[in-house]
């Protein structure tokens, strides 16, 4: 059976990985190599690396940086930020990316999607969509890091992308970004039912219990998050342990299993009870005496 995917979204800003809040505030985490190495070891299924400085600086992704990063990435790597041409894609793929994410430049010139798909195949094109729920409750797609309204509904734009040859939709919610309120499940549902290509839900995960609804209720094929994976040891293994508990089929190769452990609402591992530890100690000593 095809496993459901857990994806780490790593945001690059001026060469540093950052956490993002509402597309406005950003907290630095550090150099990109380490978060990549960590989540790869911790059973993450994919990494989406978005360079948010690229478009504002009028450039594409930096292939020299990518070449170094892809050396530590033994899971699929999607790279986005300022991708505007087939040549950009060629460079990014050569540097070690498996897929590219297009956003602003695809809205400006939708043929970009089919141009990339013609050369690299549909599976290489991920359309990244930043959506906002407006005051009247309707959804709208934004570009330029969530600053420019497009007049498109997420469903319209997603189906257009699919018909142009996009392989996946990476669906981010601007209002939920950094909110810790969970995915905007209505948005995920709407887009997932509008297209036949896989939809990746992103935006709003605040605890490890937030992933499962994205798949079970939102009908996403994959769930992504960024902020929650930083500062927590084994974060992506925790996330998968939670998904497994909810009955979702995920890949969990790591020796570290947390299926019998409890987490608090911030996703931190709860201490084992004193009784439980005493029991372990008792059994250990018994084993020792027998020897």
């Amino acid at each position: 059976m095809l496993k459901k995917r857990l994806i780490a979204t790593l945001l690059l800003r001026d060469g540093l990985i950052v956490q993002s809040f509402g597309f406005k505030r950003h907290l630095p985490i550090g150099r990109p190599r380490f978060p990549i190495e960590f989540v790869v070891k911790w059973d993450v299924d994919e990494i989406v690396l978005l360079d948010m400085s690229a478009s504002p600086q009028g450039r594409g992704p930096q292939s020299d940086v990518l070449e170094i990063l892809s050396e530590y990435c033994y899971v699929p790597l999607t790279v986005g930020g300022g991708v505007r041409s087939v040549d950009d894609v060629r460079q990014v793929v050569r540097a070690g990316a498996d897929k590219v994410a297009v956003n602003t430049h695809a809205v400006a010139r939708p043929e970009l999607i089919s141009e990339i798909a013609d050369v690299f195949g549909s599976q290489c094109v991920v359309v990244s969509m930043d959506c906002r729920r407006e005051a009247d409750g309707r959804y709208q797609v934004y570009t330029a890091s969530g600053s420019k309204p497009t007049g498109l509904t997420p469903e319209q734009w997603a189906s257009r992308c699919a018909s142009l040859g996009a392989g996946e939709v990476f669906l981010n919610s601007i209002d939920r970004d950094g909110s810790r309120a969970g995915y905007d499940l209505e948005l995920v549902q709407r887009v997932a039912s509008a297209v036949d290509i896989p939809v990746i839900a992103c935006g709003g995960v605040g605890n490890f219990g937030h992933f499962a609804p994205g798949i079970l209720e939102g009908k996403a094929s994959a769930v992504a998050a960024g902020n929650i994976f930083h500062h927590i040891e084994h974060s992506t293994i925790f996330a998968k342990a939670h998904m497994l508990k909810s009955g979702i089929d995920v890949r969990l190769d790591s020796q570290a299993k947390y299926d019998n452990r409890e987490f608090d609402e911030d996703g931190r591992l709860m201490m084992l009870s004193a009784d439980h530890l005493a029991e372990i100690e008792f059994q250990r000593r018994q084993g020792g005496e027998r020897r």
């Binding site: 496993k3 070449e67 892809s70 033994y74 790597l77 013609d118 050369v119 195949g121 290509i197 190769d253």
Partner: protein, 216 residues
């Protein structure tokens, strides 16, 4: 013993770097080349691939690499590992975006995966495999191990050439093997520890072959 020299065929559209990194990590002496003489001097070839079938074949032809690959593999018996599109290129032909002819190293055709309407294409993600011929690539793998797939087309070939399958709306060929020709539909270089183990097995197989045959 000198390490066998594995050459990754560079035809301008593969995920060369990640394959290269993974092979280096598994202890292989590996280089990347688009030159016929390097391909002919190699102890084994790896044919990577991200892209569309027709374009890949056109690129191989434009660089004059079809003949050297066939000579190395058929006449000289060098092991070859095709990865993803590289595995599909081993087939006789593909129906992706019009019919194109492949390398005809393993009889069969590349067709769109016939999925029921409930399943989405491309088939993207980690899927578990069922092993049919574990040796040598899957020698330390287990039924149910998951690897990373990303494709819309599959290799329809003889049962005898299938090394592993996966389930996506029915059996889909996950790996092929015919003599010295190997192929995996998934991306071992992107399948974390299980994928790296598979590449390590290929490297070991090449080193063994090398020891038995001509000195490397």
């Amino acid at each position: 013993m000198n390490k066998a020299n594995i050459v990754i065929v560079d035809y301008g559209m593969g995920n060369i770097r990640s394959v290269h990194n993974a092979l280096v990590r598994m202890g292989s002496a590996v280089s990347t080349s688009h030159l016929a003489e390097d391909l002919l001097a190699a102890d084994a070839l790896v044919l990577p691939g991200v892209g569309a079938f027709g374009e890949a074949v056109a690129n191989l032809k434009a660089r004059g690499l079809v003949e050297p690959i066939l000579e190395a593999v058929k006449q000289r018996g060098k092991p070859l590992l095709g990865i993803c599109l590289g595995m599909q290129l081993l087939a006789d032909s593909s129906e992706e975006r019009g019919t194109s002819r492949g390398l005809s190293l393993i009889p069969g055709e590349v067709r769109r995966i016939p999925v029921p309407s409930s399943l989405r294409l491309p088939h993207i993600g980690w899927n578990s495999v069922t092993l049919r011929r574990p040796d040598p690539l899957f020698s330390d793998a287990r039924d149910g191990d998951a690897y990373y797939f990303v494709h819309s087309y599959h290799f329809a070939c003889d049962d005898a050439d299938i090394a592993a399958t996966t389930d996506y709306g029915g059996d889909v060929v996950a790996a092929v093997q015919r003599g010295n020709v190997f192929g995996v539909q998934f991306h071992p270089e992107r399948s974390q520890s299980k994928g790296l183990a598979l590449l390590g097995n290929f490297v070991n197989h090449v080193n063994r072959t090398c020891m038995e045959g001509a000195p490397c």
